[in-house]
Symmetry: C5
Amino acid sequence: MELRDGRVNLFDGSEHVAPPPPGVMRWIDLPSADRPQLELMRERFDFHPLTIEDCSHLDQRPKLEEYRDHIFLVTQGFAAKGDKIHELELQELHAFLGERYLVTVHERPILALEEVWVRLSTEAKLLERGVDFAYYLVADGIVDDNFPILDIIADELEELEDSVLGSPKRQDLQRIFELKHHLVSMRKVLSPQRDVLGLLAKRGDSRVNDRTAVYLRDVYDHLVRINESIEANRDLLGNALDAYLSAVGQRTNEIMKALTIMSAVFLPLAFVVGFFGQNFDNFPLMKEWVHSDGLMWVMIAMCLSIPAGMLAWFKHKNWL
Amino acid sequence: MELRDGRVNLFDGSEHVAPPPPGVMRWIDLPSADRPQLELMRERFDFHPLTIEDCSHLDQRPKLEEYRDHIFLVTQGFAAKGDKIHELELQELHAFLGERYLVTVHERPILALEEVWVRLSTEAKLLERGVDFAYYLVADGIVDDNFPILDIIADELEELEDSVLGSPKRQDLQRIFELKHHLVSMRKVLSPQRDVLGLLAKRGDSRVNDRTAVYLRDVYDHLVRINESIEANRDLLGNALDAYLSAVGQRTNEIMKALTIMSAVFLPLAFVVGFFGQNFDNFPLMKEWVHSDGLMWVMIAMCLSIPAGMLAWFKHKNWL
Amino acid sequence: MELRDGRVNLFDGSEHVAPPPPGVMRWIDLPSADRPQLELMRERFDFHPLTIEDCSHLDQRPKLEEYRDHIFLVTQGFAAKGDKIHELELQELHAFLGERYLVTVHERPILALEEVWVRLSTEAKLLERGVDFAYYLVADGIVDDNFPILDIIADELEELEDSVLGSPKRQDLQRIFELKHHLVSMRKVLSPQRDVLGLLAKRGDSRVNDRTAVYLRDVYDHLVRINESIEANRDLLGNALDAYLSAVGQRTNEIMKALTIMSAVFLPLAFVVGFFGQNFDNFPLMKEWVHSDGLMWVMIAMCLSIPAGMLAWFKHKNWL
Amino acid sequence: MELRDGRVNLFDGSEHVAPPPPGVMRWIDLPSADRPQLELMRERFDFHPLTIEDCSHLDQRPKLEEYRDHIFLVTQGFAAKGDKIHELELQELHAFLGERYLVTVHERPILALEEVWVRLSTEAKLLERGVDFAYYLVADGIVDDNFPILDIIADELEELEDSVLGSPKRQDLQRIFELKHHLVSMRKVLSPQRDVLGLLAKRGDSRVNDRTAVYLRDVYDHLVRINESIEANRDLLGNALDAYLSAVGQRTNEIMKALTIMSAVFLPLAFVVGFFGQNFDNFPLMKEWVHSDGLMWVMIAMCLSIPAGMLAWFKHKNWL
Amino acid sequence: MELRDGRVNLFDGSEHVAPPPPGVMRWIDLPSADRPQLELMRERFDFHPLTIEDCSHLDQRPKLEEYRDHIFLVTQGFAAKGDKIHELELQELHAFLGERYLVTVHERPILALEEVWVRLSTEAKLLERGVDFAYYLVADGIVDDNFPILDIIADELEELEDSVLGSPKRQDLQRIFELKHHLVSMRKVLSPQRDVLGLLAKRGDSRVNDRTAVYLRDVYDHLVRINESIEANRDLLGNALDAYLSAVGQRTNEIMKALTIMSAVFLPLAFVVGFFGQNFDNFPLMKEWVHSDGLMWVMIAMCLSIPAGMLAWFKHKNWL
């Protein structure tokens, strides 16, 4: 059993940069994908040029490619940065899984991988279960890192729904779109990731022994659950968006109602005071009335009764 | 035939915590998933560590995992709390189905299981039909508990549709989203549950005999029906939401119409009384007219005819 | 060849309540699913308890279950009540199809079945083509009863589209939702019904001979066409709803335009008459002007030109 | 090689109304599906009663039914009437394809068929390539008639999009729904048509020789392309509808803005002239001011500055 | 190894216009699909008339057709014109891939093909890897040209989302529809393109050797990634459209609020000044009050307190 870290000066012609002799399990981790090292790997392990090409470019998609001596696997997942997730960090691991060797290449440090590395360094027997089991441990870690993100999203969604059904704010909308963005990104990566792991777990392959396949099936199960959560959350986000939009429409209604009620009260009043503001002295017919208080009382009565009537009518129409 | 309840002090080194001898059917129920008991089970029954891991964490998804000696099944369903469903309770049962033993693990009491347990305690012959039949009885109960929920949802939906097409209220919207939430949750669980039971019913497996398979197919049928109801209800909820939104838009229209009609009546009137409120004494041309009643009658005529004309026009435009 | 009707006093220990001897085709119809009769059938024909259970509960879903001696079939379809369809009646037939017998159970009278029964009573040779052919005739009738419903829906849809694009009414919306409700119900039933008949027509089964299979394929074809019509109608209903909603928005615009135009005309006028309503005697500067007609003509000119200008501008903006 | 047209008096006991002798290819076309002719065909060619039933009813769906001696094919497509498509004409051809004979039945004249008929009449050798090749020629013509329709729809769509993004009109909406109607109809027919021709082209069948299969695969390819165009056009129609709806909303905004700006200008002015229209002589405090021009200048200043201030504010809010 | 360019005067009876002798690889490129050349090719290479038909018409769809001696491939992709993509250029290559020859036909120059041609002219050994490898190089180039387009679209989308959530403009809407148009076009072409290359890479075919198949699988992978990006971008475009529409609704609200607030302030004021503008001298009751300043102060107090009260109420209702 051997663990070889590319960070340590492994590439000074070391004999360890090669498939191990029978009976030995060897895991080599290249924490940075620099070209000369990759070329050396290609020569010694007989990797296909296309896989080396892939390794030197991040942002591949999850895939499984079978070659004569090894399987080439691209494994991806997300890790949240901070508490409220505003940015997702894509974790990408390229792995060559042979019968007795595992070569992992990545550009940024992957927490799950570090943990497994440390664990294997101390529990030597674990690597003896096979390099496929080591791959399982890393993949399991990468996949499980997605759960907290979905939990946070679910929590935020619940908050959003409450906020949106209560008093929707412009920021809610922005947050809805942000979350949808995250879910689209996650689905784009984790849906093919699920298929890749399903493929790896289910088919018989000499590089994956039956005992490990059971564990990989478990990772596959997690990915199925993750993908179902993504779909359910997308559904609920659509809900929240609909609620937001309907709340905006509702608010338009409320504002309109306020405007209408005010107009209903004051437009007639403006007419009333305008009417009684006439210079009635001009009109012979009115002259006798005009200098009594009667007209004033009529006006005041109208100023009170018209708004009252309007409001009663609105009450009746259920607009208040 | 034996029934063993984990609640009874079964784990004091009891010999019953093990696969039964040939000819005996044994069902052990662990009503709480505490770790030491699970560990003991694992040793005695040779369960896979991953299944033990699953058993100690609720909120798995429905699944079927085959091992050499037994099938590991996660079965889920919902039970309503109270009459109007505001919260759904997820029921989750973990079961190990061997040829002669059934081990069930759950954290919260499952009503359907209790009923079957009591029934088997009294009708000893039933367990002799096999532990798979016992599993069927429990699964059937868990699945059938979902029907009343769907019935309630369908009833509420009908009420909602009436309310929304009549006089939509803000609470209707909230209820629509609540129901959609429930349906999303149910689909997330019951759609894989259907697949699991379909798988169990259809394939030949030594742990499930043909007679029981017929019954499991029946449970599968129920799940298909449940899932179809979920889809149909989702469709109708979308309907209700559309109706709500269109009702909101309609109401905006009505309010706008009221405002417009009022403005159409009173804005011209304001102009008329303003116009005739002029101090016509200033204008030589008008002087002769001004002190007769003619002008007043003209004004009054306009105050009556303009609103009447407006209302007639709106009538013609079909806005009243 | 025999036809036996459960309504006739068949269950007084009649020997006919049993599979017929070789060479004889027997069709027994139970027009009401009462328990003792079903129990008797179960004993004599060796039906599975679950099928008996199903028979005594309406509202199953279309399904095909194979047993050793017979196939159990649930066949469903809709019949319209009246001309304008406001309610759909679900027709449900439970059938046990053996090699020489057909047992049909239903709770409400099924028109298609009655017709076939009468036809077979008079044309004895038809039953000799096999009980599967009798089943085909009934299923064909039940399925074809759905066509008129779809025709009515299509007609109503066309009317709705015209109405909605012309002058949408609140009832249109209600009708749209009602039709959608019907289509959701129909799809829920007729989509599995199609699968069931496809299965029955296509697989080789000793209970369905090749000649009948050709006919069943024809019923299957009808169901495919029905399901395609349902989908197309759903699509067009979505269209009608969109048209309705956009018409509501359009109407808001028209009302707003009316309001805006009126305000545009009368608000400036109110200002003009207010302005010239000032007591210009107060202002020394104005005094000389004030008692000529000039000011009045200016005011009248403004009262005419401002509305004219506004309307011209609106004309230019294409709002009239 | 023979071509027989049902229009010519073929059914006077002609010996040609029958499968041809070996070595001869015979194509009989019935341009009207009248019952006695169909019955005669049925007897002589041994056609299945159900196919005769189908032939006498237009509006079947595309299908392929295999019988011992022949394949029964329903082929459908659309032809546009006029330049701007307002109505689509469904073309429906029923064909019996035997090894040495082809019987085609249709109710309305099918242009593509006429052309092929003429061509074969003059190029005798073409029919010697087999009756399947004759069927290919007709089917190819029927399918290719759909391309111009899709081209017209695509052109109209482009116009619609421009119109809708520029100055949307009520007719645009009507046209959008009309086009969608057409696309729904086309998909309903051409999607099963594609499957039927795919089936015919791909499977080995004695009635279709390998050379013709290559040509049928080409027709299948056209149908795939047609169906993809239908889907893409549906997508773009959705686009156009969204654009229309958003334009309506936008227009509401513009109208509202005009109203708000006008109100913002004239409501304060109405207050100002109302305020200064007070009879200040009443108030001792004002008396000294009132008969100077100062008050008038203040009023005029306010009448100019308030609208200016409002407009500046709206400018700042970006509403102008 | 030979490269033959149709532009060079190849068709003067050259012997090279024919399948090459064993041991020689020959690639002939026809940069313009003129009929006589195609006919010559057909004769010499025994191509199927349908493929020649296809070659002389652009705008086919990606496909793979197998003939005895060769595979006929239509390969399509897009290239952007300029920086901001306003128009996509469809690149279409028709290829006949035999065991020792590759014939490519296109109407417009294809950059990727030119590059490969030059490269092969200088690196003679590359063509010895087989004509299938030459096809791979061209297809790879055509497919990879799509990536920059998707990158540009993704960048624009991000800008659009920011703009739309900030201050949406009419042009944003236009751009959203333009991008959607592009994505619909791309999907229509690149989705079948993916299937074609998947088919070519995965099945064993004598014309594609195993070494090349690995490379084709890589192109297939790129196409899968491209199609996933298209879907994800469509999703996000839907987002942007929703955001735009909700922003329009929001803006309506803001405008309405401004209008309502202004009306709330000035309509009561108009009433107040109208009321106090009455000629109180007419009313005996008021006479004593009227010539003091008290009434004026009351009016001024109301002119200040009513707007203040209204604004406070709006503040309370959270409308400011």
